[in-house]
Protein backbone atom coordinates (compact mmCIF):
# COMPACT_ATOMS: atom_id res chain seq x y z
CA UNK A 1 0.00 0.00 0.00
CA UNK A 2 2.61 2.48 1.15
CA UNK A 3 5.02 1.51 -1.58
CA UNK A 4 2.50 1.70 -4.36
CA UNK A 5 1.48 5.17 -3.23
CA UNK A 6 5.12 6.23 -3.21
CA UNK A 7 5.55 4.87 -6.70
CA UNK A 8 2.68 7.07 -7.83
CA UNK A 9 4.85 10.06 -6.96
CA UNK A 10 7.09 9.26 -9.88
CA UNK A 11 4.23 9.41 -12.37
CA UNK A 12 4.41 13.17 -13.09
CA UNK A 13 8.06 12.81 -13.96
CA UNK A 14 7.55 9.64 -15.98
CA UNK A 15 4.77 11.28 -18.00
CA UNK A 16 7.00 14.33 -18.50
CA UNK A 17 9.98 12.21 -19.56
CA UNK A 18 7.90 10.23 -22.06
CA UNK A 19 6.39 13.33 -23.66
CA UNK A 20 9.45 15.57 -23.67
CA UNK A 21 12.38 13.13 -23.87
CA UNK A 22 11.31 9.85 -25.47
CA UNK A 23 8.69 11.02 -27.98
CA UNK A 24 10.85 13.90 -29.36
CA UNK A 25 13.77 11.52 -29.88
CA UNK A 26 11.39 9.14 -31.62
CA UNK A 27 10.40 11.99 -33.90
CA UNK A 28 14.04 12.68 -34.83
CA UNK A 29 14.31 9.02 -35.81
CA UNK A 30 11.01 9.17 -37.70
CA UNK A 31 12.05 12.23 -39.71
CA UNK A 32 15.57 10.94 -40.20
CA UNK A 33 14.43 7.60 -41.58
CA UNK A 34 11.65 8.82 -43.89
CA UNK A 35 11.48 11.04 -46.95
CA UNK A 36 9.00 13.81 -47.71
CA UNK A 37 6.31 11.34 -48.71
CA UNK A 38 6.67 9.45 -45.42
CA UNK A 39 8.26 6.37 -46.98
CA UNK A 40 11.14 4.64 -45.22
CA UNK A 41 14.57 5.59 -46.49
CA UNK A 42 18.18 5.52 -45.35
CA UNK A 43 19.09 8.34 -47.70
CA UNK A 44 19.15 11.05 -45.00
CA UNK A 45 21.52 9.05 -42.83
CA UNK A 46 23.70 8.02 -45.76
CA UNK A 47 23.89 11.68 -46.81
CA UNK A 48 26.74 11.98 -44.31
CA UNK A 49 28.89 10.12 -46.86
CA UNK A 50 28.52 12.93 -49.37
CA UNK A 51 31.70 14.93 -49.82
CA UNK A 52 30.42 18.11 -48.19
CA UNK A 53 28.92 16.44 -45.10
CA UNK A 54 31.75 13.95 -44.65
CA UNK A 55 34.20 16.85 -44.64
CA UNK A 56 32.18 18.65 -41.96
CA UNK A 57 32.02 15.49 -39.86
CA UNK A 58 35.78 14.85 -40.15
CA UNK A 59 36.64 18.42 -39.19
CA UNK A 60 34.23 18.23 -36.24
CA UNK A 61 35.71 14.93 -35.08
CA UNK A 62 39.26 16.20 -35.43
CA UNK A 63 38.68 19.48 -33.64
CA UNK A 64 36.61 17.95 -30.85
CA UNK A 65 39.15 15.16 -30.22
CA UNK A 66 41.94 17.73 -30.15
CA UNK A 67 40.00 19.95 -27.72
CA UNK A 68 39.18 16.98 -25.50
CA UNK A 69 42.87 16.04 -25.37
CA UNK A 70 43.93 19.62 -24.60
CA UNK A 71 41.25 19.88 -21.90
CA UNK A 72 42.46 16.63 -20.35
CA UNK A 73 46.11 17.63 -20.22
CA UNK A 74 45.23 21.06 -18.80
CA UNK A 75 42.65 19.74 -16.35
CA UNK A 76 44.40 16.75 -14.82
CA UNK A 77 47.31 18.64 -13.20
CA UNK A 78 44.90 21.37 -12.12
CA UNK A 79 42.52 18.85 -10.54
CA UNK A 80 45.47 17.22 -8.74
CA UNK A 81 46.67 20.54 -7.37
CA UNK A 82 43.16 21.48 -6.23
CA UNK A 83 42.59 18.05 -4.66
CA UNK A 84 45.82 18.36 -2.67
CA UNK A 85 45.18 21.92 -1.58
CA UNK A 86 43.07 20.72 1.33
CA UNK A 87 40.42 23.25 0.61
CA UNK A 88 37.68 21.78 2.74
CA UNK A 89 35.20 23.92 0.91
CA UNK A 90 34.34 21.58 -1.87
CA UNK A 91 31.50 23.81 -3.03
CA UNK A 92 33.86 26.78 -3.36
CA UNK A 93 35.92 25.03 -6.03
CA UNK A 94 32.80 24.01 -7.91
CA UNK A 95 31.58 27.62 -7.76
CA UNK A 96 34.77 29.10 -9.20
CA UNK A 97 34.29 26.98 -12.30
CA UNK A 98 30.53 27.51 -12.58
CA UNK A 99 30.76 31.27 -12.01
CA UNK A 100 31.85 32.20 -15.57
CA UNK A 101 28.57 30.73 -16.80
CA UNK A 102 26.79 33.73 -15.34
CA UNK A 103 28.36 35.82 -18.05
CA UNK A 104 26.54 34.81 -21.20
CA UNK A 105 28.22 32.00 -23.15
CA UNK A 106 27.95 33.86 -26.46
CA UNK A 107 29.44 37.05 -25.03
CA UNK A 108 32.31 35.16 -23.43
CA UNK A 109 33.11 33.51 -26.74
CA UNK A 110 32.82 36.84 -28.56
CA UNK A 111 35.27 38.34 -26.10
CA UNK A 112 37.87 35.89 -27.42
CA UNK A 113 37.28 37.34 -30.88
CA UNK A 114 38.49 40.69 -29.56
CA UNK A 115 41.33 39.19 -27.55
CA UNK A 116 42.62 37.23 -30.54
CA UNK A 117 42.34 39.98 -33.16
CA UNK A 118 45.45 41.09 -35.06
CA UNK A 119 45.62 44.23 -32.95
CA UNK A 120 43.91 42.63 -29.96
CA UNK A 121 45.02 42.44 -26.35
CA UNK A 122 46.98 39.21 -26.73
CA UNK A 123 48.99 40.42 -29.72
CA UNK A 124 49.70 43.73 -27.99
CA UNK A 125 51.04 41.78 -25.04
CA UNK A 126 53.11 39.53 -27.29
CA UNK A 127 54.63 42.45 -29.22
CA UNK A 128 55.45 44.14 -25.91
CA UNK A 129 57.66 41.16 -25.10
CA UNK A 130 58.93 41.14 -28.72
CA UNK A 131 57.30 37.79 -29.38
CA UNK A 132 55.84 36.86 -32.78
CA UNK A 133 52.12 37.67 -33.13
CA UNK A 134 49.44 35.03 -32.83
CA UNK A 135 47.23 34.99 -35.92
CA UNK A 136 44.70 32.31 -35.13
CA UNK A 137 41.38 34.17 -35.37
CA UNK A 138 39.12 32.62 -38.03
CA UNK A 139 41.21 29.44 -38.13
CA UNK A 140 40.47 25.98 -36.71
CA UNK A 141 42.84 26.79 -33.84
CA UNK A 142 40.56 29.57 -32.66
CA UNK A 143 37.68 27.09 -32.64
CA UNK A 144 39.75 24.67 -30.55
CA UNK A 145 40.57 27.50 -28.16
CA UNK A 146 36.89 28.38 -27.88
CA UNK A 147 36.00 24.76 -27.19
CA UNK A 148 38.72 24.34 -24.56
CA UNK A 149 37.69 27.60 -22.92
CA UNK A 150 34.00 26.75 -22.79
CA UNK A 151 34.25 23.11 -21.77
CA UNK A 152 37.33 23.01 -19.52
CA UNK A 153 35.24 23.18 -16.30
CA UNK A 154 33.41 20.04 -17.37
CA UNK A 155 36.74 18.20 -17.47
CA UNK A 156 38.16 19.64 -14.24
CA UNK A 157 35.18 19.01 -11.96
CA UNK A 158 34.67 15.24 -12.53
CA UNK A 159 38.42 14.54 -12.30
CA UNK A 160 38.66 16.68 -9.16
CA UNK A 161 35.74 14.77 -7.61
CA UNK A 162 37.30 11.41 -8.43
CA UNK A 163 40.67 12.48 -6.99
CA UNK A 164 39.17 13.82 -3.76
CA UNK A 165 37.46 10.47 -3.18
CA UNK A 166 40.73 8.50 -3.28
CA UNK A 167 41.58 7.21 0.21
CA UNK A 168 44.92 8.82 1.15
CA UNK A 169 45.84 5.58 2.96
CA UNK A 170 46.00 3.77 -0.38
CA UNK A 171 48.51 6.31 -1.67
CA UNK A 172 50.47 6.14 1.59
CA UNK A 173 50.48 2.34 1.45
CA UNK A 174 52.00 2.47 -2.03
CA UNK A 175 54.69 4.84 -0.78
CA UNK A 176 55.39 2.62 2.26
CA UNK A 177 55.81 -0.34 -0.02
CA UNK A 178 58.55 1.52 -1.84
CA UNK A 179 56.83 2.98 -4.88
CA UNK A 180 58.31 6.22 -6.15
CA UNK A 181 55.96 9.14 -6.93
CA UNK A 182 55.77 8.25 -10.63
CA UNK A 183 54.90 4.62 -9.89
CA UNK A 184 52.33 5.71 -7.31
CA UNK A 185 50.74 8.00 -9.87
CA UNK A 186 50.49 5.42 -12.63
CA UNK A 187 49.58 2.45 -10.40
CA UNK A 188 47.25 4.13 -7.90
CA UNK A 189 46.09 7.67 -8.61
CA UNK A 190 45.50 7.42 -12.34
CA UNK A 191 43.57 4.10 -12.31
CA UNK A 192 41.39 5.26 -9.41
CA UNK A 193 40.50 8.48 -11.20
CA UNK A 194 39.37 6.75 -14.41
CA UNK A 195 35.63 7.21 -13.72
CA UNK A 196 36.20 10.96 -13.45
CA UNK A 197 38.34 11.02 -16.59
CA UNK A 198 35.73 9.12 -18.58
CA UNK A 199 32.89 11.38 -17.55
CA UNK A 200 35.08 14.42 -18.21
CA UNK A 201 35.84 13.16 -21.70
CA UNK A 202 32.13 12.60 -22.36
CA UNK A 203 31.18 16.04 -21.11
CA UNK A 204 33.77 17.77 -23.30
CA UNK A 205 33.71 15.61 -26.40
CA UNK A 206 29.93 15.60 -27.02
CA UNK A 207 29.30 19.37 -26.83
CA UNK A 208 32.51 20.03 -28.78
CA UNK A 209 31.54 17.58 -31.51
CA UNK A 210 28.07 19.05 -31.89
CA UNK A 211 28.63 22.79 -31.41
CA UNK A 212 27.64 25.24 -34.10
CA UNK A 213 28.02 28.46 -32.16
CA UNK A 214 31.75 28.39 -31.39
CA UNK A 215 32.62 27.68 -35.02
CA UNK A 216 30.32 30.48 -36.15
CA UNK A 217 31.77 33.05 -33.75
CA UNK A 218 35.47 32.16 -33.89
CA UNK A 219 35.84 30.33 -37.20
CA UNK A 220 34.77 33.28 -39.31
CA UNK A 221 31.85 31.23 -40.73
CA UNK A 222 34.24 29.69 -43.26
CA UNK A 223 34.65 26.46 -41.36
CA UNK A 224 31.50 24.35 -41.28
CA UNK A 225 31.17 21.79 -38.52
CA UNK A 226 28.54 19.05 -38.58
CA UNK A 227 26.57 21.12 -36.04
CA UNK A 228 26.47 24.05 -38.46
CA UNK A 229 25.20 21.80 -41.24
CA UNK A 230 22.37 20.45 -39.06
CA UNK A 231 21.46 23.90 -37.77
CA UNK A 232 21.22 25.27 -41.30
CA UNK A 233 19.07 22.38 -42.44
CA UNK A 234 16.56 23.25 -39.73
CA UNK A 235 16.61 27.03 -39.66
CA UNK A 236 17.42 28.00 -43.26
CA UNK A 237 17.17 25.13 -45.72
CA UNK A 238 14.09 23.74 -44.00
CA UNK A 239 14.99 20.13 -44.82
CA UNK A 240 14.07 18.49 -41.51
CA UNK A 241 14.50 15.00 -42.92
CA UNK A 242 18.14 15.59 -43.84
CA UNK A 243 18.80 17.46 -40.57
CA UNK A 244 17.29 14.59 -38.57
CA UNK A 245 19.23 12.01 -40.57
CA UNK A 246 22.51 13.76 -39.76
CA UNK A 247 21.43 14.05 -36.11
CA UNK A 248 21.03 10.27 -36.03
CA UNK A 249 24.65 10.00 -37.14
CA UNK A 250 25.62 12.29 -34.26
CA UNK A 251 23.60 10.16 -31.86
CA UNK A 252 25.57 7.09 -32.95
CA UNK A 253 28.74 8.82 -31.73
CA UNK A 254 26.99 9.81 -28.51
CA UNK A 255 25.87 6.21 -27.97
CA UNK A 256 29.40 4.89 -28.53
CA UNK A 257 30.61 7.38 -25.96
CA UNK A 258 27.87 6.42 -23.47
CA UNK A 259 28.63 2.72 -23.90
CA UNK A 260 32.31 3.38 -23.25
CA UNK A 261 31.53 5.33 -20.09
CA UNK A 262 29.17 2.58 -18.89
CA UNK A 263 31.98 0.04 -19.22
CA UNK A 264 34.57 2.14 -17.37
CA UNK A 265 32.30 3.72 -14.81
CA UNK A 266 29.98 0.96 -13.62
CA UNK A 267 28.84 2.62 -10.41
CA UNK A 268 28.26 6.02 -11.97
CA UNK A 269 30.93 7.47 -9.70
CA UNK A 270 32.30 10.11 -12.01
CA UNK A 271 29.93 12.98 -11.50
CA UNK A 272 30.03 16.69 -12.08
CA UNK A 273 29.20 17.51 -8.47
Amino acid sequence: MKNSRLKLLSSPYIVWAVIFIIVPLGMVFYYGLTDKTGAFTLENVMAVMSEEHAKALWISLGLSLLSTAVCFFLAYPLAMILAHMNVNQHSFIVLIFILPMWMNFLLRTLAWQTLLEKTGAINNLLSFFHLPPLNIINTPYAIVLGMVYNFLPFMVLPIYNALVKIDPNVVNAAKDLGANPIQTFFKITLPLSIPGIISGITMVFIPALTTFVISKLLGGSKILLIGNVIEEEFTQAGNWHLGSGLSIVLMIFILINMAASAIFDKDGEGGLL
Binding site: A17, I19, I21, L25, L74, M101, N104, T210, S247, L250
Partner: protein
Protein backbone atom coordinates in the same frame (compact mmCIF):
# COMPACT_ATOMS: atom_id res chain seq x y z
CA UNK B 1 59.38 25.40 -2.55
CA UNK B 2 59.88 25.66 -6.31
CA UNK B 3 57.18 23.04 -6.70
CA UNK B 4 54.57 24.99 -4.76
CA UNK B 5 55.39 28.16 -6.69
CA UNK B 6 55.03 26.31 -9.96
CA UNK B 7 51.67 24.98 -8.80
CA UNK B 8 50.49 28.45 -7.87
CA UNK B 9 51.60 29.87 -11.21
CA UNK B 10 49.73 27.08 -13.00
CA UNK B 11 46.52 27.79 -11.10
CA UNK B 12 46.85 31.52 -11.74
CA UNK B 13 47.40 30.94 -15.48
CA UNK B 14 44.29 28.75 -15.74
CA UNK B 15 42.23 31.36 -13.92
CA UNK B 16 43.52 34.11 -16.19
CA UNK B 17 42.44 31.92 -19.10
CA UNK B 18 38.98 31.39 -17.60
CA UNK B 19 38.36 34.95 -16.47
CA UNK B 20 40.17 37.04 -19.12
CA UNK B 21 37.14 37.15 -21.45
CA UNK B 22 34.96 38.20 -18.53
CA UNK B 23 37.32 41.01 -17.63
CA UNK B 24 37.36 42.03 -21.30
CA UNK B 25 33.57 42.26 -21.40
CA UNK B 26 33.57 44.37 -18.26
CA UNK B 27 36.06 46.74 -19.87
CA UNK B 28 33.80 47.01 -22.95
CA UNK B 29 30.93 48.11 -20.76
CA UNK B 30 32.86 51.28 -19.84
CA UNK B 31 34.12 51.96 -23.37
CA UNK B 32 32.90 55.21 -24.91
CA UNK B 33 33.49 53.94 -28.44
CA UNK B 34 30.63 51.87 -29.86
CA UNK B 35 32.91 49.30 -31.46
CA UNK B 36 34.87 46.68 -29.62
CA UNK B 37 37.98 47.39 -31.63
CA UNK B 38 39.16 50.58 -29.96
CA UNK B 39 39.09 52.28 -26.60
CA UNK B 40 37.30 55.61 -26.74
CA UNK B 41 37.54 56.64 -23.13
CA UNK B 42 35.75 55.84 -19.91
CA UNK B 43 31.99 56.26 -19.65
CA UNK B 44 28.99 55.22 -17.60
CA UNK B 45 26.53 56.10 -20.36
CA UNK B 46 25.73 52.49 -21.36
CA UNK B 47 24.58 51.75 -17.85
CA UNK B 48 22.16 54.66 -18.03
CA UNK B 49 20.90 54.00 -21.55
CA UNK B 50 20.41 50.35 -20.59
CA UNK B 51 17.34 51.24 -18.55
CA UNK B 52 15.80 52.96 -21.56
CA UNK B 53 16.50 50.09 -23.93
CA UNK B 54 13.16 48.32 -23.98
CA UNK B 55 14.29 45.38 -26.14
CA UNK B 56 17.13 44.41 -23.85
CA UNK B 57 15.03 44.87 -20.73
CA UNK B 58 12.29 42.68 -22.23
CA UNK B 59 14.87 39.98 -23.07
CA UNK B 60 16.21 40.25 -19.52
CA UNK B 61 12.76 39.75 -17.97
CA UNK B 62 12.07 36.83 -20.31
CA UNK B 63 15.38 35.23 -19.34
CA UNK B 64 14.86 35.68 -15.61
CA UNK B 65 11.22 34.55 -15.80
CA UNK B 66 12.13 31.40 -17.74
CA UNK B 67 15.12 30.62 -15.50
CA UNK B 68 13.11 31.08 -12.30
CA UNK B 69 9.92 29.29 -13.32
CA UNK B 70 11.70 26.44 -15.10
CA UNK B 71 14.12 25.78 -12.25
CA UNK B 72 11.36 25.93 -9.62
CA UNK B 73 9.18 23.54 -11.63
CA UNK B 74 12.15 21.25 -12.19
CA UNK B 75 12.89 21.27 -8.45
CA UNK B 76 9.32 20.23 -7.59
CA UNK B 77 9.02 17.54 -10.28
CA UNK B 78 12.59 16.32 -9.75
CA UNK B 79 12.44 16.13 -5.93
CA UNK B 80 9.11 14.31 -5.96
CA UNK B 81 10.51 11.92 -8.56
CA UNK B 82 13.58 11.29 -6.38
CA UNK B 83 11.38 10.18 -3.47
CA UNK B 84 9.69 7.66 -5.71
CA UNK B 85 12.87 6.53 -7.46
CA UNK B 86 14.53 5.93 -4.10
CA UNK B 87 11.75 3.45 -3.23
CA UNK B 88 11.97 1.52 -6.48
CA UNK B 89 13.64 -1.79 -7.10
CA UNK B 90 17.01 -1.76 -8.80
CA UNK B 91 15.83 -2.46 -12.32
CA UNK B 92 13.12 0.20 -12.48
CA UNK B 93 15.49 2.68 -10.89
CA UNK B 94 18.16 1.95 -13.50
CA UNK B 95 15.66 2.46 -16.33
CA UNK B 96 14.38 5.78 -14.99
CA UNK B 97 17.84 7.13 -14.18
CA UNK B 98 18.96 6.03 -17.63
CA UNK B 99 16.18 8.07 -19.24
CA UNK B 100 17.03 10.98 -16.96
CA UNK B 101 20.58 10.93 -18.28
CA UNK B 102 19.48 11.35 -21.89
CA UNK B 103 19.07 15.16 -21.94
CA UNK B 104 22.37 15.57 -20.09
CA UNK B 105 24.42 13.24 -22.28
CA UNK B 106 22.69 14.00 -25.55
CA UNK B 107 23.94 16.89 -27.63
CA UNK B 108 22.05 20.14 -27.00
CA UNK B 109 21.44 20.55 -30.71
CA UNK B 110 19.71 17.15 -30.88
CA UNK B 111 17.61 17.93 -27.79
CA UNK B 112 16.74 21.29 -29.35
CA UNK B 113 15.62 19.96 -32.72
CA UNK B 114 13.79 17.01 -31.16
CA UNK B 115 11.73 19.38 -29.01
CA UNK B 116 11.17 21.66 -32.00
CA UNK B 117 9.81 18.72 -34.02
CA UNK B 118 7.56 17.76 -31.08
CA UNK B 119 6.11 21.26 -30.68
CA UNK B 120 5.52 21.57 -34.42
CA UNK B 121 3.68 18.25 -34.63
CA UNK B 122 1.59 19.10 -31.55
CA UNK B 123 0.72 22.42 -33.15
CA UNK B 124 2.04 24.48 -30.23
CA UNK B 125 2.53 28.18 -30.77
CA UNK B 126 6.24 28.94 -30.44
CA UNK B 127 6.93 31.48 -27.73
CA UNK B 128 7.64 31.74 -24.02
CA UNK B 129 5.62 28.58 -23.34
CA UNK B 130 7.67 26.33 -25.59
CA UNK B 131 10.94 27.75 -24.22
CA UNK B 132 9.69 27.13 -20.70
CA UNK B 133 8.71 23.51 -21.40
CA UNK B 134 12.12 22.85 -22.96
CA UNK B 135 13.99 24.43 -20.07
CA UNK B 136 12.05 22.41 -17.49
CA UNK B 137 12.92 19.29 -19.49
CA UNK B 138 16.66 19.86 -19.46
CA UNK B 139 16.63 21.19 -15.88
CA UNK B 140 14.99 18.18 -14.20
CA UNK B 141 18.05 15.91 -14.67
CA UNK B 142 20.28 18.44 -12.89
CA UNK B 143 17.88 18.51 -9.93
CA UNK B 144 17.74 14.70 -9.77
CA UNK B 145 21.53 14.58 -10.04
CA UNK B 146 21.85 16.86 -7.01
CA UNK B 147 19.01 15.44 -4.86
CA UNK B 148 19.49 11.70 -5.47
CA UNK B 149 22.80 11.32 -3.54
CA UNK B 150 21.23 13.09 -0.52
CA UNK B 151 18.22 10.81 -0.76
CA UNK B 152 20.44 7.73 -0.69
CA UNK B 153 22.16 8.92 2.49
CA UNK B 154 18.85 9.31 4.32
CA UNK B 155 18.15 7.03 7.22
CA UNK B 156 14.71 5.57 6.41
CA UNK B 157 14.02 4.84 10.10
CA UNK B 158 13.70 8.54 10.94
CA UNK B 159 10.83 8.90 8.49
CA UNK B 160 9.20 5.72 9.82
CA UNK B 161 9.67 6.93 13.38
CA UNK B 162 7.83 10.14 12.51
CA UNK B 163 4.99 8.10 11.02
CA UNK B 164 4.88 5.88 14.14
CA UNK B 165 4.65 8.97 16.30
CA UNK B 166 1.51 9.95 14.43
CA UNK B 167 2.73 12.36 11.78
CA UNK B 168 0.98 12.27 8.44
CA UNK B 169 3.27 11.27 5.53
CA UNK B 170 3.27 14.84 4.23
CA UNK B 171 4.11 16.32 7.63
CA UNK B 172 6.76 13.64 8.18
CA UNK B 173 8.28 14.49 4.81
CA UNK B 174 8.52 18.20 5.50
CA UNK B 175 9.69 17.79 9.11
CA UNK B 176 12.10 14.90 8.70
CA UNK B 177 13.11 14.18 5.13
CA UNK B 178 13.07 17.64 3.59
CA UNK B 179 15.59 19.31 5.97
CA UNK B 180 18.03 16.50 5.22
CA UNK B 181 17.80 16.78 1.45
CA UNK B 182 17.56 20.59 1.45
CA UNK B 183 21.23 21.19 0.52
CA UNK B 184 20.77 18.90 -2.50
CA UNK B 185 17.54 20.65 -3.45
CA UNK B 186 19.20 24.06 -3.20
CA UNK B 187 22.23 23.11 -5.26
CA UNK B 188 19.88 21.50 -7.78
CA UNK B 189 17.93 24.74 -8.00
CA UNK B 190 21.09 26.81 -8.41
CA UNK B 191 22.45 24.46 -11.05
CA UNK B 192 19.15 24.44 -12.96
CA UNK B 193 18.87 28.23 -12.77
CA UNK B 194 22.42 28.67 -14.07
CA UNK B 195 21.94 26.19 -16.91
CA UNK B 196 18.70 27.86 -17.94
CA UNK B 197 20.27 31.31 -17.85
CA UNK B 198 23.28 30.26 -19.91
CA UNK B 199 21.40 28.17 -22.45
CA UNK B 200 21.41 29.29 -26.03
CA UNK B 201 21.17 26.24 -28.29
CA UNK B 202 17.91 24.72 -27.03
CA UNK B 203 16.25 28.14 -26.77
CA UNK B 204 17.39 28.91 -30.33
CA UNK B 205 15.35 25.98 -31.68
CA UNK B 206 12.29 26.31 -29.45
CA UNK B 207 11.70 30.07 -29.40
CA UNK B 208 9.17 31.84 -31.54
CA UNK B 209 9.69 34.91 -33.68
CA UNK B 210 9.68 38.10 -31.64
CA UNK B 211 10.32 36.36 -28.30
CA UNK B 212 13.92 36.68 -27.20
CA UNK B 213 16.01 35.73 -24.23
CA UNK B 214 19.33 37.46 -23.66
CA UNK B 215 21.18 34.62 -25.43
CA UNK B 216 19.09 34.70 -28.58
CA UNK B 217 19.13 38.50 -28.57
CA UNK B 218 22.92 38.49 -28.46
CA UNK B 219 23.03 35.90 -31.25
CA UNK B 220 20.96 38.08 -33.57
CA UNK B 221 23.09 41.08 -32.65
CA UNK B 222 26.37 39.33 -33.49
CA UNK B 223 26.20 40.24 -37.16
CA UNK B 224 25.10 43.84 -36.61
CA UNK B 225 27.45 44.36 -33.69
CA UNK B 226 26.62 43.90 -30.04
CA UNK B 227 25.03 46.91 -28.38
CA UNK B 228 27.28 48.22 -25.60
CA UNK B 229 24.28 48.14 -23.24
CA UNK B 230 24.52 44.36 -23.40
CA UNK B 231 28.02 44.48 -21.90
CA UNK B 232 26.75 46.77 -19.17
CA UNK B 233 23.90 44.40 -18.36
CA UNK B 234 26.20 41.36 -18.29
CA UNK B 235 28.57 43.15 -15.99
CA UNK B 236 25.72 44.01 -13.63
CA UNK B 237 24.48 40.39 -13.62
CA UNK B 238 27.95 38.99 -13.04
CA UNK B 239 28.83 41.37 -10.22
CA UNK B 240 25.45 40.79 -8.56
CA UNK B 241 25.95 37.02 -8.61
CA UNK B 242 29.50 37.41 -7.34
CA UNK B 243 28.28 39.52 -4.39
CA UNK B 244 25.41 37.14 -3.65
CA UNK B 245 27.73 34.13 -3.63
CA UNK B 246 30.15 35.99 -1.41
CA UNK B 247 27.36 36.75 1.06
CA UNK B 248 25.94 33.23 0.94
CA UNK B 249 29.37 31.72 1.50
CA UNK B 250 29.99 34.02 4.40
CA UNK B 251 26.66 33.71 6.20
CA UNK B 252 26.69 30.05 7.33
CA UNK B 253 30.26 30.35 8.59
CA UNK B 254 29.34 33.12 11.01
CA UNK B 255 26.45 31.07 12.29
CA UNK B 256 28.72 28.13 12.98
CA UNK B 257 31.18 30.26 14.83
CA UNK B 258 28.47 31.66 17.03
CA UNK B 259 27.27 28.20 17.86
CA UNK B 260 30.74 27.13 18.90
Amino acid sequence: MIKTTAKKIYIVLIFIFLYAPIATLMVFSFNKSRTRAKWGGFTFQWYLSLLGNREIMQALWNTLFIALVSSLSAVVIGTVACIAINNMNKRRRAVILGITNIPMLNADIVTGISLMLLFISLGFKFGLGTILLSHITFNIPYVILCVMPRMKQLNPSTYEAALDLGASPVLAFFKVVFPDILPGVLSGFLMAFTMSLDDFIITHFTKGAGVDTLSTKIYTEVKKGIKPEMYALSTIIFVTVLLLLFLVNKAPKEKNERRI
